[in-house]
């Protein structure tokens, strides 16, 4: 809501109409003869060669999947194989002009795309550069294997074998694959050639590629980004969200200087007509032609166009024209690359949804035949030349396959001998102060920032000279988070932050108050209300090498970004065998007061997913320290904050919140109150209710409580907790999450197992009810109260003399509630 843009009712209410311009469909009609000025004979033949390599690669996999053999070599491959036979011209045409600085992102059906992209990059890189790439990748481990295949005439020939071997070994889950076998067919890529992750989630690459394009723009990097997704993915919400995000007006209207202008991004649909067995044109979608979709997105209609993907030269022509649009900062572009998947969805697909005639009709149009005939007709080569080339491709493929299936040359990970082979990739656990070393783009010196000045006048402790500090003078939780964030903005030039209401408003909870004045648009901006795209683009931004801080205004919106948080942000570090880093901090505000869809603590959802670090500080001191750590790490961190706490001063650290920089290790709980009779382990804001309970337990029942604030959920060091339980023998775990399936239950189970012999009673969980969160006025019956903690102790751990419970913590009630599922 920038004030600079006036929304004039006179204009907005005026009578008018929307007009569209024509969307080109298969307009390319040049002959080989006409293209001879643009391509040498060698170029023409190289295009054919690349198509032939892809065809043979996919044919090999199809043969292995359906007959357990290829060209006389036996192998059983149980893994997936989503093949793209029929689509070769489209991927080779797309990659032809791209170099290593242009990124492509793929789908589950992208072997062809990464082969084409790799072959194109090999063509453009110098021998020296190629050797460096191969020597550096896993310290030359794959290169050494490929070198054993015999002498290569040229470095490019060597690099081609390197590419084919790396991809095939990865398909076969070998340690010598490009992702050490941790990615596999659907998650393949090779960064040095500009090939970014394929994605097994339909449309998964759409919003991630938006983030990559964002990275290029914000950090002034060379190259364009292409999201290769299928026609069926156009129905996926995150794809729409990614497109909405990518076409935000602000890029052209509000961003300034060299950052102004559209994203250099092509959302390319390899329109092969089917989404599994659903026919997109005529059955499962209504667009008739996919390219139509661009018309409604923005006035530029996303420069949408349908191009004939069965003609490689048509695709090259399209990419050439679209690249120009991007270079002129007029992107992004939507491309409908028409193609046809002759192979089934997978080798087990019986193609019951289409006729044999249809498949045969497309085979009659086979680009490898048509293009070859055209080249012969134009005198580029004779038929024998093609046959020789095809035979050599088959020979190469057989050689590669033999290497890739040989267990001595291409072993799998040995999880018995090296049990941490996978676990070591779950987190990168590195500390990087700045992702790039260059000056930061800021609008003012840090000291001149109004909020920084305001904060400097605040009192950093809760009391001063024995008196409580007045609210407005307190340095509070939100100030602590702000302080850590603005500090990192002035250190790491790649750091950007966005989400809903981040700029101008300063965030729904005023954490970013003052940031707008300090940062240019391209480092702090408002996103559309598109949680999937917010997180998905952050994943792409981080994958490309930047650090990013995004937020979900309410924890309840986590579901809206489910795939992006659970499958993308969490998984890519491990699926890339450590080749990708994921320095994303996702701030998630846990609400209260606003009912069933705005007041849920979903920490357990995030904690359940391997690969995410989850923190939940409850005090200003911890919030600043943990945010500092999160923002210098390279792992994805879900940073839970409680809306109950934004205006809380520091009550525990006697020295208050230090002005200087400090970090708190992620994973270490903190003892907030020392006691001897019962341990209360709290998650998030329940710390303060536990403190109240502890007071009553002390005063009325003579029980001394030790309170441990978990601070972090994943990872979590139990040592302090176990030490405490050893002393007290009793533990209650408290949090605002609905008790069933909560992370508190997980903690209780771990404590039961590890402290069993020290326990005087089972660990007891005091969480919220398994209901909807009711209105604010009824919340005391829903969220854990101090009295509930005491009730639970009385009923389940240590009956207190003369105590009368107010809530029902008996086992009978527990049985009843579980029976009812409430």
């Amino acid at each position: 809501m920038p004030k600079s843009q006036h929304l004039d009712p006179k204009i907005l209410r005026a009578k008018s109409k929307i007009t569209f311009t024509d969307i080109p469909v298969n307009q390319y009609d040049k002959t080989i003869e006409e293209e001879k000025g643009n391509f040498s004979n060698k170029d023409f033949m190289r295009i054919f060669r690349d198509m032939a390599i892809i065809r043979e690669f996919e044919t090999m996999l199809n043969s292995i999947k359906t007959t357990n053999e290829y060209n006389g070599v036996e192998y059983n491959h149980p893994g997936p194989a989503h093949l793209s036979i029929g689509q070769e011209a489209s991927s080779v045409g797309q990659a032809y002009l791209l170099d290593k600085d242009d990124f492509i992102f793929g789908s589950h059906r992208s072997h062809g795309e990464i082969l084409a992209k790799g072959l194109s990059a090999i063509e453009k890189l110098t021998d020296k550069e190629l050797m460096e790439v191969m020597e550096e990748y896993f310290d030359g481990q794959i290169l050494r294997i490929v070198e054993k295949m015999g002498k290569h005439d040229t470095v490019k020939e060597l690099a081609m074998d390197f590419l084919l071997y790396g991809i095939l070994a990865e398909n076969f889950a070998r340690k010598t694959g490009f992702q050490r076998g941790l990615g596999g067919s659907m998650h393949l890529f090779f960064l040095p050639f500009g090939s970014y992750p394929n994605n097994a989630i339909v449309g998964g690459s759409a919003d991630i590629s938006v983030g990559a394009a964002l990275f290029k723009k914000v950090n002034s990097k060379k190259g364009i980004v292409i999201a290769n997704i299928g026609d069926a993915s156009l129905a996926c919400g995150p794809v729409w969200e990614g497109i909405a995000f990518a076409t935000m007006d602000q890029f052209k209207k509000l961003w300034e200087g060299d950052k102004q202008g559209g994203l250099k991004l092509i959302i390319n649909f390899f329109n092969n007509q089917y989404g599994m067995g659903g026919q997109t044109n005529g059955e499962t979608m209504g667009y008739k032609m996919l390219a139509r979709f661009g018309a409604g997105v923005n006035p530029e209609q996303m420069h949408s166009e349908r191009v004939d993907g069965y003609n490689p030269l048509a695709v090259i022509d399209a990419i050439k024209r679209k690249k120009k649009i991007l270079d002129e900062n007029n992107g992004p572009v939507l491309l409908d690359t028409l193609t046809y998947r002759v192979s089934g969805h997978s080798p087990s697909d019986a193609s019951s949804y289409r006729t044999k005639e249809e498949v045969e009709a497309w085979q009659d149009n086979d680009s490898l035949i048509e293009y070859r005939l055209n080249l012969i007709k134009a005198g580029v080569a004779v038929s024998d030349d093609f046959d020789t080339m095809l035979a050599s491709v088959k020979e190469r493929m057989t050689k590669i396959m033999k290497m890739a299936i040989d267990y001595d040359i291409s072993p799998r990970m040995d999880l018995v001998k090296e049990p941490d082979s996978i676990s070591k990739y779950m987190f990168s656990n590195t500390k990087v102060e700045k992702m790039e070393d260059r000056p930061v783009d800021v609008l003012q010196p840090l000291k001149e920032n109004e909020q920084v000045i305001r904060n400097s006048r605040k009192v950093r402790t809760a009391t001063l000279n024995g008196k409580p500090v007045p609210k407005l003078k307190q340095f509070q939780y939100r100030d602590a988070i702000f302080e850590a964030i603005i500090n990192r903005f002035y250190e790491d030039p790649t750091l950007i932050a966005y989400g809903e209401e981040n700029r101008d408003w300063g965030g729904a909870f005023a954490v970013y108050r003052g940031l707008t004045e300090a940062l240019p648009y391209h480092r702090l901006f408002n996103s559309p209300i598109a949680e999937a795209a917010i997180v998905g683009s952050a994943v792409g931004y981080a994958m490309s090498g930047g650090r990013v801080l995004v937020e979900l205004m309410y924890c309840d919106f986590l579901g809206r970004a489910g795939d992006e948080v659970f499958n993308q942000m969490a998984k890519w570090q491990a699926m890339s065998a450590g080749k990708l880093k994921m320095p994303v901090v996702l701030r998630v505000s846990v609400g209260s007061k606003y009912g069933a869809q705005h007041s849920q603590d979903w920490t357990a959802l995030a904690a359940h997913i391997p690969g995410l670090k989850c923190v939940f500080p409850a005090t200003p001191y911890d919030a600043k320290g943990l945010m500092n750590t999160a923002l210098t790490g390279t792992d994805p961190v879900i940073f839970f904050e409680s809306q109950r706490l934004y205006d809380t001063p520091e009550l525990f650290n006697e020295a208050g919140v230090p002005e200087e920089y400090y970090e708190i290790e992620i994973g270490e709980p903190d003892i907030k109150r020392v006691g001897s009779d019962v341990t209360i382990l709290t998650i998030g804001a329940t710390l303060y209710r536990a403190i109240e309970a502890a007071k009553e337990l002390e005063e009325k029942h003579g029980l001394s409580s030790e309170i441990i604030d978990a601070r972090t959920i994943v990872p979590f060091n139990y040592e302090k907790v176990l030490e405490s339980v050893k002393k007290t023998g009793r533990i209650v775990i408290v949090g605002d999450a609905c008790e069933r399936g909560s992370h508190m239950k997980d903690m209780a189970q771990n404590i039961s197992e590890m402290a069993f012999d020290d326990l005087d009673a089972p660990p007891v969980v005091v969480g919220a009810k398994n209901w909807i969160t009711p209105a604010y006025e009824l919340e005391n019956s829903f969220f854990p109260q101090p009295s509930w903690i005491i009730d639970a102790i009385h009923e389940k751990i240590l009956p207190l003399e003369g105590y009368v419970s107010t809530s029902n913590y008996t086992e009978r009630e527990q049985l009843r509630l579980n029976k009812l599922g409430v």
Partner: protein, 434 residues
């Protein structure tokens, strides 16, 4: 070379033994065959002889220590040799003794009476603490949820001093009650979990007593007895029979050439082993959801020994002759008394006979030996009168007390057994001929 001596395992079910006496002191010379120490299981006593020559270098346990089987008890070797590597006691065990002795010395002036709630639920922490402090968990009053003994219940015993409890138990003070349920309502758990404050009870300055460690065997008997009474529904029937015939027969046997001394008790054992065959429910084990009926009668014989009550078994008594029964009973009784009985002979009985008649006992209630369903107590002979042809004549009357598990069988079938047994004993000669 130093050689450790382990605590042998006597029988499959034996986990530990008590060292009852050391026969060699540290530093004393030992030759092969010397008795090193005496020890006992819950059922029998043994002596451990040296199998090597040398000097007693170290003893890891004191008399009356409970030693796990197969653990090193002492080391024999040449003087000056190291023995610490043979010490298998864990550190806790060594510390425990100190703690325990300190606690038992504690003086108690004001005491809170604990009524044991006999709970079998114990928190792991409470269990560990009790074992560390040498406190008997069964004495604890469970104050935890669901009648669970928790740490504070053990600490309470510690505070009171372990031995103060039983005395306090008998003080007969009124019990104070208070509900712990929601809203102060009386909960089920409140019943039977009551504490009483007894203040100002004057104690004589000198009570005059001595504490002796209770031997394993006593502990076992105590456990078995209370277990029996807690887990079965015992009913005792008493009847008597005319012993004229068996008394006369015994006289004849005594005067005969038969070497074995056949006692009245043997005759009763013989008769019972025959009559039981017609009363399967009493020659059985009651196993909760199943009854195990035995093909033969395996007679448990209660034997009074110096160490306490032992019940060796005479297997297949129903197919032995009277003389064979008498000989077998004698043999196992002697072995039991001497403490050399094979522990495996101390179980497996299908019915038990106990005899207090020799002490002049006229009637008593024998305690069942679960899962057996019956035990017969044999009483003394008294002179009774009966009317024969209008005249009062005296006759020797012998009492029999049958305790049976009413859970396993009803009163009438039990009475029928007793009736048939009495008849068989009164007509013992006929029984012998069968």
């Amino acid at each position: 070379m130093a050689i450790p001596v382990i605590m042998p395992r006597q029988g499959q079910s034996v986990e530990s033994c008590i060292v009852t006496k050391w026969h060699k002191e540290v530093g004393e010379k030992v030759v092969v065959g010397d008795v090193l120490f005496s020890y006992e299981t819950d059922k029998a006593s043994f002596e451990e002889e040296a199998t090597v020559e040398g000097t007693m270098l170290v003893k890891f346990y004191e008399e009356w220590d409970d030693v796990p089987c197969l653990i090193n008890v002492c080391v024999i070797g040449n003087e000056g040799e190291s023995t610490s590597e043979f010490d298998q006691r864990d550190a806790d065990e060594v510390v425990e003794e100190d703690t325990a002795s300190k606690d038992t010395n504690k003086e108690v002036t004001t005491e809170e009476v604990i009524i044991s709630s006999g709970s079998d639920k114990v928190s792991p922490r409470a269990k560990n603490l009790a074992s560390k402090l040498n406190i008997d968990i069964s004495k604890a009053q469970a104050t935890g949820p669901n009648g669970r003994v928790i740490e504070r219940d053990i600490l309470k015993l510690k505070e009171l001093g372990i031995y103060a409890t039983s005395a306090a138990l008998s003080s007969g003070e009124k019990l104070q009650t208070s509900g712990t349920g929601i809203g102060g309502r009386m909960a089920v758990d409140d019943i039977g979990a009551v504490t009483t404050q007894v203040t100002g009870v004057e104690l004589p300055s000198e009570l005059g007593y001595r504490d002796e460690k209770i031997p394993n065997i006593r502990k076992m008997i105590s456990k078995a007895m209370s277990n029996s009474l807690q887990t079965t529904s015992q009913v005792t029937l008493t009847a008597s029979f005319d012993a004229t015939e068996i008394v006369a027969l015994r006289k004849k046997l005594k005067a005969s050439d038969i070497e074995v001394n056949v006692t009245l008790n043997d005759m009763i054992i013989f008769a019972v082993s025959r009559v039981l065959k017609n009363h399967a429910a009493l020659n059985a084990h009651f196993l909760g959801d199943t009854m195990r009926y035995f093909d033969h009668v395996h007679m448990g014989i209660a034997v009074d020994t110096e160490r306490g009550l032992l019940v060796p078994t005479v297997f297949n008594a129903d197919i032995r002759s009277l003389v064979s029964v008498a000989a077998a009973v004698k043999e196992v009784a002697i072995q039991a008394k001497e403490g050399i009985i094979n522990p495996d002979l101390l179980s497996g009985a299908s019915f038990t006979i106990t005899n207090l008649g020799t002490f002049g006992i006229e009637s008593f209630t024998p305690v069942l030996n679960p899962p057996q369903t019956g035990i017969l107590g044999v009483n003394t002979i008294t002179q009774r009168v009966k009317e024969i042809d209008g005249e009062l004549v005296t006759y020797p009357s012998m009492g029999l007390s049958l305790t049976f598990d009413h859970g396993a069988l009803d009163g009438a079938p039990a009475a029928r057994f007793l009736q048939e047994l009495n008849k068989a004993l009164e007509n013992f000669t006929i029984l012998l001929m069968q």
